[in-house]
Subunit: 268 residues, 3 copies
Amino acid sequence: MAKNDLKVYPILEKIRQVKPLIHHLTNWVTIYDCAAVVKALGGSPVMAHANEEVAEMAGMAQALVLNIGTLTKDFVEAMKIAGKSANAKGIPVIFDACGAGATRLRDEKCVELLREIDIGIIKGNVSEIARVAGINVRTKGVDTAEIKGDIYALAARLSVKYKCTVAVTGKEDVISGAGRTFVVKNGHALMADVVGTGCMAASVIGTFAAVGPDLVRAAAAGLSCFGIAGECAAVNSAGPAEFKVKLIDALYNLDKKTVERRQKIERV
Amino acid sequence: MAKNDLKVYPILEKIRQVKPLIHHLTNWVTIYDCAAVVKALGGSPVMAHANEEVAEMAGMAQALVLNIGTLTKDFVEAMKIAGKSANAKGIPVIFDACGAGATRLRDEKCVELLREIDIGIIKGNVSEIARVAGINVRTKGVDTAEIKGDIYALAARLSVKYKCTVAVTGKEDVISGAGRTFVVKNGHALMADVVGTGCMAASVIGTFAAVGPDLVRAAAAGLSCFGIAGECAAVNSAGPAEFKVKLIDALYNLDKKTVERRQKIERV
Amino acid sequence: MAKNDLKVYPILEKIRQVKPLIHHLTNWVTIYDCAAVVKALGGSPVMAHANEEVAEMAGMAQALVLNIGTLTKDFVEAMKIAGKSANAKGIPVIFDACGAGATRLRDEKCVELLREIDIGIIKGNVSEIARVAGINVRTKGVDTAEIKGDIYALAARLSVKYKCTVAVTGKEDVISGAGRTFVVKNGHALMADVVGTGCMAASVIGTFAAVGPDLVRAAAAGLSCFGIAGECAAVNSAGPAEFKVKLIDALYNLDKKTVERRQKIERV
């Protein structure tokens, strides 16, 4: 493995200076938490989904996050309008393939969104990403450790197919794009026990992508920061609910020393 | 009163082993908390409401929870599709009659859902359940203590009418079905001061029903566990918000000793 | 500045006695927190947005809160139906101009709502209120301190234009109506770092307006209480997430002594 050449903290500092506006069309379950992590990082979240205003809102933003967790046909149409506006302005579009593979509707809409919008970063867990890549995996029973080599190849292949960055979240996060692959080894087991950490990860990536040097490094840096916050939050947390409160506050309080000491990103 | 013959902890253990998928069509206010309690118990929550996917999603699930808290006509149509799919698969449907009696729309839609879907468990507070049973009660001014005897009769009658289990939540929870009635005496006064504990109770019942021995005992066991978690959470809580955080973490941490020592279920 | 003649605590006491029902049509991001603050104060929140039931629900309520944070055309139509019902019944309508100025749709819908409904209280931050008043301000870069004098004039002017009370939230809150202007100097800097405090403020104002002596004093008293809770919550909060938990619990626990000692309302 090559030595990591990615500095995370300067990107976080830039977020706090620039306060980028991150426009979301996301699901109704974790919508608050998506907004909360953007704000905790120093960004400015906005959620808006009316067909009549999404193009204008995306046009004001520095990144657009699309999440299909509670999709409907109409909602996906609004995503397309917002996505095309983001593309026209040249801001990054982050696509959270939340629940891909669960139903035909989700699979169809993933394909449509990836065909009609220029997605900058596709984010998902290993089974969601595999499904978007056209592989027929079962969601349960996929062991991240065992198919480690495959995840690298999977991410790289999907990245080439859609000319984008692919972020596969899990015990280790794998980020692939522009011929490079990073592995992020930050995080804590409790993150998997909280509803919404996947969605929050996409919002964190969006906030980093809004100011970052390039999408691959922005996604890796964002996931590292999120994982570091998880490590800090796990200390003395009684369970997932207290942990989530501490996770958001840890993002808010991340300082240079903590980030530099804990950052675990490897280029593979 | 007869001695209780219901063991709660083995059902909780089974949830943690099986990790049942609980599909929700629920309201937009407490949707996160409904997901959070399912996950804290060890289940896997999914929220999906698009007409085009609800049948498929319900078909993958081990229980379906319907909550009309922020209903619209279209949303109720999606509930019917999901409900019929759940019926076809033979998984339990839990119906939270949230706000029944408040408006004509709610009353009409309750009737439609109960007519068109085979509901396994109807859950509500005493005034909601009375309204579903066709009694004209005022929501405010219903004193649980005074009409104690009536609640037993009410639950039993509604249970016979719809051939289902009826769970009436309150200071004491009354669960009636298949000719049996249980009273659960767990819980804490702070639960009534938190927005969403009623909705969360339906999700807890759904998670227990997904693996439980039968719907009556699953509902009683679920409400007992939820009440026990409330008792644990109340210790040192400054108010309803801290209490809710601790409530979810208490569900996550429930162990055999705590459940067996605190369980207060009586068969009447 | 004139001496303050406004007693806050008796209004809070009345909320706890009367338990007013506060009907909301609000955004999907902070909907839970809006309900939570109403409940913490002692009121009873209800969220309902189906065209078929909003008139009936508003007709049962003691105040109606409208918030356009995640508006759609259909949702605004439901707001109009609810608003007209509230007007017919004579209960106060609170309008949170959330995100006014961000898109043409928001500007248009603000105008329509203010034209078709008799709004009792318009609430917003300085740029939202300026936009509703027809001034072309940029949302970012508006420094509350520098245009202090202008905020008083702005609030007074908008109040006259729509014959209503105007509440401008910020480091200092300015409330103007019926020829009077109050300034509330309670609050804490952390409130600006939490997603949803603006929306929660509108719900607090609605709860006070439901029982208050008049809309101007109700809005000022509500914002003072909310600010006092913020001051209490800030003690030992690690960040915005812990702060929000403590904020809701502080509202729940507000006592006479704390309110009377901390209340900072000036009539200008």
